[in-house]
């Protein structure tokens, strides 16, 4: 299948199935997004702009895997808008950057340079109040990954990529959704036990 002419909505469906398809967006939209940001400011390095774009990709992906996400503009416009909002926040928090936003600078005829001021999505914060538990779980998860087996992938697909038990049953070849649910519960228990041991070491 050729992905060169695929529509945004079809692409979103493909990303829901396999997040590797994010690569299409990366390849298709990155250049315009960086150019768009470059027009907003010249006081941020390209590396920093890349970081902003990558965060925008994650914001888009995390929205896509949420069942209730509806794309109201093109993916390019969405990414431009998210990047713009992030830059604005950066400008506000760090006065050294020069904000050059001016409607006359944005070529309204070029659809790749459009943005929507109503889109102000940010990357969800992952900070946790219980630092000890957080660090222990982080270590436990690492240990689980290194141990091999299906647990790490199963938990990752469930908790981050929001795969349903039905999808996971097919993916791992389990006999039923109930079986998958039991496997997941066992993995969580194992992780909890590992974290508990780490805390009490």
């Amino acid at each position: 299948m050729s992905l060169s002419n695929i529509s945004d909505l079809e692409l979103i469906e493909l990303i829901k199935e396999d997040h590797d398809n994010l690569g299409v967006i990366y390849k298709r939209n990155k250049e315009y997004c960086i150019s768009f940001m470059r027009r907003m400011t010249s006081s941020i390095s390209t590396d920093e702009l890349n970081d902003v774009f990558q965060d925008a990709m994650l914001i888009l992906y995390e929205k896509i895997v949420n069942e209730d996400f509806k794309l109201t503009s093109s993916i390019q416009t969405y990414l431009n808008s998210v990047c713009r909002f992030q830059l604005l926040n950066k400008f506000r928090s760090d006065k050294k950057f020069v904000f050059q936003e001016d409607d006359t600078m944005i070529d309204k005829m070029d659809k790749n340079m459009q943005y929507d001021t109503g889109i102000n999505d940010l990357l969800e914060s992952l900070e946790d109040e219980k630092e000890t538990q957080y660090k222990a779980l982080e270590e436990a998860l690492k240990a689980l990954k290194e141990a091999g087996g299906n647990c790490y992938e199963l938990l990752t697909l469930f908790w981050y990529h929001k795969k349903s038990l039905k999808d996971l049953t097919i993916f791992f070849g389990y006999s039923s959704s109930d079986n998958t649910k039991n496997q997941k519960a066992r993995c969580q228990k194992r992780l909890k036990k590992l974290a508990f041991n780490i805390i009490n070491e």
Binding site: M1, S2, L3, S4, N5, H19, D20, N21, L22, G23, V24, Y26, K27, Q54, M57, L58, Y61, E62, N66, L123, E124, L126, E127, D128, K130, Q133, Y134, L137, E138, L141, G148, G149, N150, L155, T156, W159, Y160, H161, K162, Y174, S175, N179, N182, Q183, A185, R186, Q188, L191, K192
Partner: protein
């Protein structure tokens, strides 16, 4: 109450796995009973007694465990945002709070790892995806495909030529005693009309075969009237497999390194060749091969499987020894139970879903 749809679904799923009959159960009342269970056991107990079960104590003894499962699933749904409303009393429950805290942290830790991985892999993610092709690439691919197709045709024609030659040889072998010269002339004559490759050498080849066969029959055939059937060898394949030893509750002892030597004895080619000759009126010395089903012997850590299928490249990588000292072998996603025996026994597929689930659990923990 209308806002408790998620809670009711969860309570129903948990409860039903322990109940035989779901009629006349007031699910809302059961769910509310679960919701307040931490502070007040009575509402749930009362609902259980209302059901007039034969043995209500049996289910009552499981209620703490079922309640924890209920809270856990609810907390999970709450963290995943699937549950928009959670009963206020539950929100204040210490158990619920503890579970929510664990799941939220787990979700955040996993998200952190995955975000990091995705960012690292983003530039590479597009590498294997199919984008547009240039005209030159398309032209070159088409040429390559056309050439490959042509080559395939050449190969097919070559095979046709060879098989036609072989047919001639077979025909001669069948009646070689009395009609060799005559039929050779006829057949070769016919083929010569339609083929480019000369078959004149066949006459000499067949003549040589006649001499060899005649000598062979002279010394070896005191029982058969027809030509000696060429029966294929019985093939076998042996491999060593480490036994996965369960120590209890689905856990394994990875320090035990017992292994079993498995030999697969494949009768397929033997059976096919025997049948081939029988169909042609020849004598099949192993007529009883058709009775060989999937059988095995298992003693002294040696398992021998006899089958009429072709020899598999890998017989299995999984032999499980359970706490009850029962052995199970997994072949192509099917489990077979095996017991020690020097006599051949039928290799039977395990169909008990509970046992299969247990075996899958063991495999899951092992992986």
């Amino acid at each position: 109450m209308n806002n408790m749809i998620n809670e009711i679904v969860i309570a129903k799923n948990i409860f039903l796995s322990h109940m035989k009959d779901e009629t006349s159960i007031d699910w809302e009342a059961i769910t509310l009973g679960f919701a307040v269970f931490e502070n007040d056991l009575k509402p749930l107990y009362a609902e259980i007694y209302k059901l007039e079960l034969a043995d209500p104590e049996e289910i009552i003894s499981k209620l703490p465990e079922l309640h924890e499962l209920f809270i856990e699933e609810l907390a999970e749904a709450y963290v995943l945002d699937k549950s928009s409303v959670v009963n206020n009393e539950l929100k204040e429950s210490p158990l619920f709070k503890e579970k929510v805290s664990f799941f939220r942290t787990l979700k955040n830790v996993i998200a952190k790892q995955e975000r990091k991985r995705i960012i690292q892999e983003l530039p590479k993610m597009s590498n294997h995806l199919d984008f547009s092709f240039s005209e030159n690439e398309i032209e070159s691919a088409l040429k390559k495909k056309a050439r490959a197709d042509l080559k395939e045709k050449f190969d097919k024609w070559d095979k046709e030529i060879i098989s036609e030659e072989n047919e001639v040889v077979y025909a001669k072998l069948h009646s070689l005693d009395d009609q060799i010269d005559e039929s050779l002339t006829t057949d070769v004559g016919l083929k010569e009309k339609g083929k480019v490759i000369s078959l004149s050498w066949i006459k000499y080849a067949v003549a040589a075969l006649v001499v060899v066969s005649a000598g062979f029959f002279y010394f070896n055939t005191d029982k058969f009237d027809g030509p000696e059937p060429v029966i294929a060898d019985i093939k076998h394949n042996t491999q060593n497999v480490i036994v996965i030893t369960e120590t209890g509750l689905g856990y394994m002892d990875t320090t035990i390194n017992d292994s079993i030597s498995i030999t697969y004895v494949a009768y397929k080619e033997r059976k096919d060749s025997s049948e081939y000759y029988k169909r042609r009126g020849g004598y099949g010395p192993e007529a009883n091969l058709k009775n060989i089903e999937l059988t095995y012997t298992f003693f002294n850590s040696k398992l021998t499987i006899y089958g009429v299928t072709a020899i598999p490249e890998v017989i299995t990588d999984t032999i499980i020894k359970t706490v009850q000292n029962k052995y199970y072998i997994k072949i192509e996603e099917l489990y077979f139970s095996i017991t020690e025996s020097e006599d051949k026994k039928e290799l039977k597929i395990e169909t008990d879903s509970l046992i299969i689930e247990e075996l899958e659990k063991i495999m899951f923990n092992y992986e």
